[in-house]
């Protein structure tokens, strides 16, 4: 009890008794979550403004006679003539490991009813991206668990890889699969006591999405045990445009904490098209000049400064990384629209998902021709390089030949063989959602395809063969798989063992 009294006394003593100088302004206009304030002569750009009753705002426009600000939280109590104070602080969010496993809003406040968050620190939402001195090129892979990506469009830690496609083509699923796969890898490393493995923590930022969708994603992550390694930042469709605009920056600040503390993090922005729309709304209400498609002139800078914060730091700066997977939704496959072209040019590659492929049953519906990873191949493990080096070319060749072959049936043996191999590769890459494949299994399967073990299997039975082969290798040859995982390369003896194991399986497999 005496401690409590002392604490109260300290608080009373701490409350300043001298006259405080404050900078105040008066709300002149309010609407759509945006206020215009007269006064506030000393307001700084991006400074937090106190509207009283726990309502905060953010100064975005500093004009000659007034300040334009966006409101955060419930602003129904703010009225014209209301007094506003500057706080001298920029917008900050809680960061740290305490946020893992939690669903939070833009200001880092919990939305999951699991109690308050004891944050280790606070990070500013807007921060300058790490400079060139701090950086290094990517050299460690992000294992997505999606065969087509890990083999043909590899992603490195610290890379920015765009996921782009029309609605309902599996963009979010790709990101969720990656989160689930990395949570599995983290868990396995923890359980085996492998200290050399660098865990990859994930941050999923939902921007302008339906609450039902977000709830479904959270339940999927919980179901697959990925939540303990994941932070979900939510600015749903029912939240104000201002919150949707800030959400990716808040998520990025949370990810930067991991990077700055020598850890690896992955951030998914789902999606930046809605983010651009939210920013357009805020800008128009703030009466900023509009440009193409009514987007403000700084829409490119908005996304470039966000994505530039994803980086791989060098060893002098802790060796941490922040990998970004922004998502963009296209309209009728138009990748040449304003926002898609902007984000394509900012990122280090893109994974393009095609509606046609999706409805043909090729899932994930990755278009090999249009997808590219500009830096990720440097981070690919050697074993994968050995088996997947030629696959992208072969698959691209297959698509070209398949289009050509439909006009005639007289094909030479070489073309026929390429077509048959291509069909099998397409089958092998088909994968169910939320079932990421460990890298050693990917290597074994791709090795089997490349070495003609599947050439005599009918195309429609490839998946069945693959499943049985994976079961066989997992249950009967776990040592071989763990050797591939540990050595990360296919040596002569590993290749011999793989050849023998797959040969044995093939003999025993009864179609």
């Amino acid at each position: 009890m005496s401690q409590l009294l002392q604490e109260i006394e300290a608080r009373i003593a701490g409350a300043k008794t001298a006259a405080r100088r404050q900078n105040v302004g008066i709300v002149r206009e309010i609407g759509d979550g945006v206020v215009r304030i007269e006064g506030l002569d000393d307001a700084m750009l991006n400074e937090m403004l106190d509207f009283g009753n726990g309502v905060m705002g953010l100064a975005l426009n500093l004009e000659e006679t007034e300040v334009g600000a966006i409101l955060l939280g419930d602003f129904t109590s703010v009225r014209e003539g209301h007094e506003v104070r500057t706080t001298g602080k920029v917008l900050q969010v809680p960061v740290g490991k305490a946020l893992l496993g939690r669903v939070v809003d833009v200001l880092g406040r919990p939305l999951d009813g699991k109690g308050p968050i004891q944050a280790e620190a606070f990070y500013p939402v807007e921060k300058i991206a790490p400079g060139i001195i701090k950086r290094r090129s990517v050299n460690q892979p992000v294992q997505t668990g999606i065969m087509a990506i890990d083999a043909m469009i590899p992603i490195g830690r610290g890379q920015r890889e765009l996921i782009i496609g029309d609605r309902s083509t599996g963009k979010t699923t790709l990101a969720i699969d990656t989160i689930i796969n990395n949570a599995r890898l983290n868990r396995e490393a923890e359980q085996s006591g492998d200290t050399s493995y660098r865990p990859l923590y994930s941050i999923y930022v939902a921007i302008g999405q339906k609450q039902s969708n977000i709830a479904r994603i959270v339940s999927v992550l919980e179901e697959h045990g990925a939540m303990p390694y994941t932070i979900v930042v939510v600015a749903s469709a029912s939240d104000a445009a201002t919150n949707q605009y800030l959400a990716p920056f808040a998520g990025c600040a949370m990810g930067e904490w991991f990077m700055d503390n020598g850890m690896d993090a992955l951030i998914v922005y789902d999606d930046l098209s809605k983010h651009a729309v939210a920013y357009r709304q805020v800008s128009l209400v703030l009466k900023r000049p509009s440009g193409r498609e009514a987007y403000p002139g700084d829409i490119f800078y908005l996304h470039s400064r966000l994505l530039e914060r994803a980086a791989r730091l060098n060893e002098n700066y802790g060796n941490g990384s922040l990998t970004a997977l922004p998502i963009i939704e296209t309209q009728l496959g138009d990748v040449s629209a304003y926002i898609p072209t902007n984000v394509i040019s900012i990122t280090d590659g893109q994974i393009y998902l095609e509606t046609d492929l999706f409805y043909q049953g090729v899932r994930p519906a990755i278009s090999v021709g249009l997808s590219v990873s500009r830096v990720g191949s440097a981070a690919q493990i050697k074993a994968m390089k050995q088996v997947a080096a030629r696959i992208k070319g072969e698959l691209a060749q297959f698509r070209e030949l398949a289009a050509f072959a439909q006009f005639g049936s007289d094909l030479d043996a070489v073309t026929q063989a390429k077509l048959e191999r291509g069909k099998r590769i397409v089958e092998v890459f088909k994968q169910e959602q939320y079932k990421p494949v460990p890298v050693e299994i990917q290597v074994a399967v791709l090795w089997a395809v490349q070495n003609a073990f599947m050439d005599d299997i009918p195309v429609e039975r490839i998946k069945e063969f693959q499943t049985a082969m994976v079961d066989y290798l997992t249950t009967r040859k776990p040592d071989l798989l763990s050797r591939i995982r540990k050595e990360k390369a296919l040596g002569d003896d590993t290749i011999a063992a793989l050849k023998q194991a797959i040969g044995e399986f093939k003999q025993s497999w009864r179609p």
Binding site: I12, G14, A15, A19, R20, R21, Q22, G39, D41, R85
Partner: protein, 133 residues
């Protein structure tokens, strides 16, 4: 219809014409208003509203408002005026208001700067300090 941007620019030009040594000259303001009303250019009412806003903001910037719980004695007013003038310069308009809600002390506002030394202000600061985690 004349655009809002043009009107704002014109109002600002007129406002600048009314400045003398960095302060608004009242006779010039009256002259400007008389001139506009005599000429009646397109959008003159909107122009006058915009002009009025700029003058109002200028007056607010140069106004010192003192709020106290009880009427302030003359000698204290003079002392306060002297100290505030030393900081903000001469030419301030002074307004005194009595607000019993303040309980005690004084609240001074000059432009957008507020100095709160009231009991009400201290109690609110104390309440806020308890609210913070």
């Amino acid at each position: 219809m004349i655009s809002h941007r043009v009107l704002r620019r014109e109002a600002k030009r007129l406002y600048r014409l009314c400045l003398e040594g960095g302060r608004v000259n009242e006779s010039r303001v009256r002259l400007v208003i008389d001139h506009i009303l005599a000429q009646r250019p397109r959008g003159h009412i909107r122009l006058l509203i915009q002009f009025q806003r700029l003058i109002k903001l200028d007056i607010q910037r140069r106004t010192a408002r003192v709020e106290t719980a009880v009427p302030m004695p003359e000698d204290l007013q003079a002392l306060l005026r002297e100290q505030v003038t030393r900081r903000y310069g001469t030419g301030l308009h002074w307004e005194y208001q009595v607000k019993p809600d303040l309980i005690g002390g004084l609240r001074l506002r000059v432009g957008s700067d507020v100095y709160d030394a009231t009991i009400q202000g201290r109690l609110m600061a104390l309440a806020e300090s308890f609210d913070q985690p």
